[in-house]
Every structure is written in C-alpha cells, then in structure tokens.
C-alpha cells in the first residue's frame, strides 16, 4: 500500500507543510506502510461498538464566569514577548490570501 503523490500533496497542504519532492515520495511510501500495518484494525468488525474519544467519565466541567486573578491577563508586552514580528501592539504577519480560502497555494515548492 502506498499513498499517491496527489494525496500526499493534498494532506501537506492541509497541514501547511512545505515538503520537498523527496519528502513527498518518502511520506507516501511510509504512510502507506504504517496504514498497511493498521489493516488489522481497519478491517476489524466493530459493528455496534461505541467509539472512545476519552478514557475518563467526567462531564460538566466548567469554570465560573470570573475574571483572571490577580492580574487580569498578560500585559501587552508579555503577550507580544515571544512574537517573531511585532508592530504597534500587534503580531505582524505577511499578506493574507483572499478571505475564506484556507488552502492557499501549492506548498511543495522547496
């Protein structure tokens, strides 16, 4: 089992990873082998078995609608302290592509 180049590129785009051609080929092969090994799981009859998303039985865990104490939040300086690019109290980012388009351009370019 191997994952097609097209699928690898699609997944890399969803995950925002700029993969090299070499990586695309490698991951296609490795993902295929790992998922192939998982055949024992994927081919199992699980009719009527509920999924487990969590191994604990908690419910209704909430916090009261009360402001952080003592300091309300981080100061602007603290908030921005780790920012790779900061301008006028904001995090600066390069040009955002057209609103509503989370896919962007081809990523496998390097």
């Amino acid at each position: 089992m191997s994952i097609s180049r097209e699928e690898v590129v699609h997944v890399a785009r969803l995950a925002r990873l700029a993969l090299t051609e070499e990586e695309i080929a490698l991951y296609g092969e490795q993902l295929g082998r790992i998922l192939g090994h998982a055949d024992r799981v994927t081919s199992l009859d699980t009719e009527g078995v509920p999924p487990t998303a969590q191994a604990i039985a908690l419910a209704n865990v909430f916090r009261p609608d009360v402001l952080n104490e003592p300091a309300p939040c981080l100061s602007q300086r603290e908030a921005l302290a780790n920012g790779p690019a900061v301008e006028a109290g904001h995090f600066r980012v390069p040009r955002i592509l057209e609103d509503g388009d989370p896919s962007g351009e081809e990523v496998a370019e390097e």
């Binding site: 865990v61 009261p64 309300p72 908030a79 006028a88 995090f91 980012v93």
Partner: protein, 483 residues
C-alpha cells in the same frame, strides 16, 4: 420572471455577553489597546488548556430553549481544523454532530404574513481575533501585510442555523430582527453595542416553484442593514441571470458593504476539509434537569407573547405593539409608564413614548437606559395632557425640559406657569376683548367668510400666552360670533 421563488436560510453568529471568554478568564469587551485582553490560553500558547465558561453554556442553552429547541442530553465539543492567522490554535473549538440545541422554530411576520422558520441547530463556539489589513485601502486583497489583535479571540459565540424557510429578503430581515429582540430579552448578548456582535451568513437561491436552485452563500454581513441589502442585491442578481437564460453556480460570495454588491470568492474545490474530531481537552455537557429548570425559569415573556398581550390588554395597534416590543427596554418602559398613567388610554402613552420620547432620545444620542425621564414621569406627563391640564404642545415643551433636568412634569408646568386655562368665565373676557379689538374681522366672519377665524384663535392664544384650552376657545368663539 415573477414566477421564480426565492429561498433563504440564515446562519447567525452572536457574541455572548459574559464577563469572561469562552475558555479562559480574560475579559470580553470591545475596543481598547490591541492584545491587552489576552492570556496564554486565548493566545494558544503551547500546553494551555480550555476550560468552558459555565455562564456561556447556560446562555446558549437559554437561547436554544427560547427558540424552541430540544436540548441534547449529552453534547460535546469538536475541533474544526483550518489555518488562519487570527485563530490562535489554528483550530476552532466548536460543536459538530451533537450541538447543544436542535430543531426549534421562530415565527416572523412581514407585510406578506406570518411564517414559521425552522431552527436547525444552536451551538456554542469561540470567536477569532481580528486582522487589520495594512497597505492601500485596508482591504484584504490589496494589503501588503496584516496585524493581528487577539482581544476578541475566545469570545463566546452562539451559532444559530435556520432551515431554508424564508422566501424574501424582508423575511430574512424580519427573522434577524426578531432574533435580535429575543436575544435582548434573554439578556445574553449585547446586541446593540457595536456592529459585529451579531454577524450573518446567508444562503439564497432562486428557482422556479418546485425546483431546487443552486445555493449561493453570502458572507460578511455584519448588520441587519447589510443582511437585507445583500439579500435584496443577490435576489435581483440571480433573477437577472436566470431571466437572461443563464445559470447560477453553487458558490460563495462576499458582501462588499462599500460598493453594495456581492463578489465571488475564489475558493478551491477541496479547500474546506475541516477534519472535525472530538475535542479531547473537554468533557461532555450533560445538563441536569435541575440546571435546565433553573435556566428555563430565567426566561422572561418573549416578544411574540408580549406583542399579543400588548394588543389584547392595552388595546395597542399591531404596529405600535411591534415597535415597542422589538426592544425589551422600550416595552418595559411602556408598561411602567402605562401603570403610572392609570385611567388614561394606554394608546396615548404608547404614542408619547414611540413618537415623542424615543425620537428625541435618538436625536440626542441617548436611550431609555440613560435618559433622565422615568417611566413614571412620562406617565404623569401623559396624564396631564389627557386630563386637559396642559395642551399637547405644552406637553412637548415640558418633555424637552424633563429630558434636561429630570424634574417631574407637574413641577415644570407649575414653574413655567404653563397651566392650561379652561375656565369659561375667565376665557370669555379674553375672547370678548379680542373680538372688540378686531371688529372688522368679526364683521367679515359674520358676513360669511370663515377664513379669518384662525387669526382670532391665534390672537386669543397670544393673549393667554398659549395657556387657553383650544377646545374651550373654539366653543366660546362659535357662541360669541353667533351672538
């Protein structure tokens, strides 16, 4: 192409008026310096965990119940995965296949009648931050870079999705208005504070009756006005395309508020794969019967019921009832003022409130919460006018003064000497004097020319500094001119 049918469904996002954010204790608010209402959680720092705000959950349940939805015995959060720089974790904590509320209904009335609009679902999620697009014009497509402010990130949002049950832009607007009223009544959202606390996405399709049209999604509708404008624009556009023999593609369009048009968004076919999966950092919400009861018992009489009661109990016209009930503040004010004006026709109280007070408040940038005129004072004022103590015109002068000083109307009337003179004997002397001073006019009237009578009334009012009761003056004039 009048045989085409328009079909509209809405998706509404509404910010909840909690003190703190959905998953952390940062303040919810508007404006202010960027990145000053943030912490490691709402900035999505590594290792941080969300803990849901109980009040936000209660508000969402309240909304769902008010819209007639069933409440899920166990609902969970999902992660909705997509990259966007204003979304700190690059996934949004939202709800997916098991939302808090399912299957409700809301009736809306327009000139075309009343329609029951199905509510598909009500769910809870978190808001994103805001991007400020820098470069020429501040628009996304010609920006050279953007600045991110995460103050809004994590604000609790309720998403309400309707069935495609609306058939005109007017119904779309009416639904949104009615929903806004309900949210105001529930005191769960500051729906007036700024544009953007309620945001709309709309699905609209136009097709011959019985056929299913291609669904066009219109995004970026940040006010009732844009919602209506965009729907009206899109309805006409689609009708024109179809009328010209063209076809509508299923697509997503962006409303451009400035130019008043919708534009197609460039989206790729496979772009939206949100990879929803259950949020492992959170546990299910299983509202107990006691909690649900406590939340439900906090729901006040809602606009539809209140409107019916205003018509039945106060004798208001449907129009007046609509105007007053649309805002909880106005309706509450009306009821208090009507109680203070006991024995007076409530219709008159409604008129003074809707026509005189609200108009003046909006001119002055005030509202019912900030005004110095109490409902009791307005009721007293209407009582003075209705009882004939002062004229309607005088009442308006008194109202102006009440808005400035907040003093009771009786005190203002007293101080300004505005008391209306209604005594026949007192007025008879004045009328006699005016008639004597204008004998030429009197002769013309007696000669059959009725026109100058208004002049005489004016002279009498002038002589009484406007205090004469106009009805009594008319009566006396009639008697004395005949005599």
């Amino acid at each position: 192409m009048s045989d085409l049918v328009t079909t509209i469904g809405l998706e509404i996002h509404c910010e909840l008026a909690t003190s703190t954010k959905m998953f952390c204790g940062c303040a919810v608010g508007f404006g202010g310096e960027p990145n000053t209402r943030v912490c490691q959680v709402c900035l999505g720092h590594p290792g941080t965990l969300p803990v849901p705000n109980e009040q936000a959950v209660a508000y969402a349940i309240k909304i769902a119940v008010a819209l007639g939805c069933g409440i899920a015995p166990s609902s969970i959060f999902h992660r909705k995965n997509y990259f966007y720089p204003d979304m700190p974790k690059n996934y949004q904590i939202s709800q997916y296949d098991i939302p808090l509320g399912l299957k409700g209904v809301l009736e809306v009335t327009t000139d075309a009648g009343t329609r029951a609009v199905g509510i598909t679902r009500v769910h809870l999620e978190e808001d994103t931050g805001k991007s400020l697009h820098m470069g020429s014009g501040g628009r996304i497509h010609d920006a050279t870079y953007s600045l991110e402010d995460f103050n809004r990130a994590g604000t609790p949002l309720v998403e309400i999705v309707t069935e495609p049950d609306m058939t005109s832009p007017e119904e779309g607007r009416a639904f949104a208005q009615e929903l806004r009223s309900i949210l105001e009544y529930l005191e769960v959202s500051d729906v007036r504070l700024e544009e953007g606390s309620m945001r709309f996405d709309a699905n609209i399709s136009v097709a011959p009756p019985g056929e299913r049209g291609a669904k066009v999604e219109v995004k970026n509708l940040n006010s009732l006005k844009s919602l209506h404008r965009a729907l009206a624009y899109e309805e006409v556009r689609q009708r024109e395309v179809l009328g010209g023999g063209g076809a509508i593609d299923q697509s997503t369009r962006h409303w451009d508020e400035r130019s008043g048009v919708t534009r197609p968004l460039r989206t790729k076919e496979h772009a939206f794969d949100y990879r929803y999966f259950p949020e492992p950092d959170l546990v299910p919400i299983k509202p107990s019967p006691e909690w649900l009861e406590a939340i439900t018992s906090g729901i006040p009489e809602l606009p539809p019921a209140r409107r019916r009661r205003f018509i039945a109990d106060y004798g208001l016209t449907p129009y007046d009832a609509n105007v007053l009930v649309a805002s909880r503040a106005a309706a509450d004010y009306f009821e208090d003022a009507a109680a203070a004006a006991a024995g007076i026709e409530p219709k008159q109280v409604a008129n003074w409130l809707a026509n005189d007070l609200l108009g003046r408040l909006s001119e002055r940038g005030e509202d019912l919460e900030t005004t110095r005129v109490t409902p009791q004072a307005l009721g007293a004022l209407v009582g003075l006018v209705a009882g004939g103590s002062i004229s309607g015109a005088q009442g308006k002068v008194v109202l102006d003064e009440m808005m400035v000083s907040g003093r009771p109307p009786a005190e203002i009337v007293e101080e300004k000497g505005l008391k209306q003179v209604s005594g026949r004997s007192e007025l008879k002397a004045v009328v006699a004097g005016v008639l004597a001073a204008n004998s030429d006019v009197v002769d013309r009237i007696r000669g059959g020319d009725a026109k100058p009578q208004g002049f005489l009334v004016g002279q009498i009012m002038k002589a009484t500094k406007g205090q004469a009761n106009p009805a009594v003056v008319q009566e006396l004039l009639k008697e004395m001119l005949q005599g």
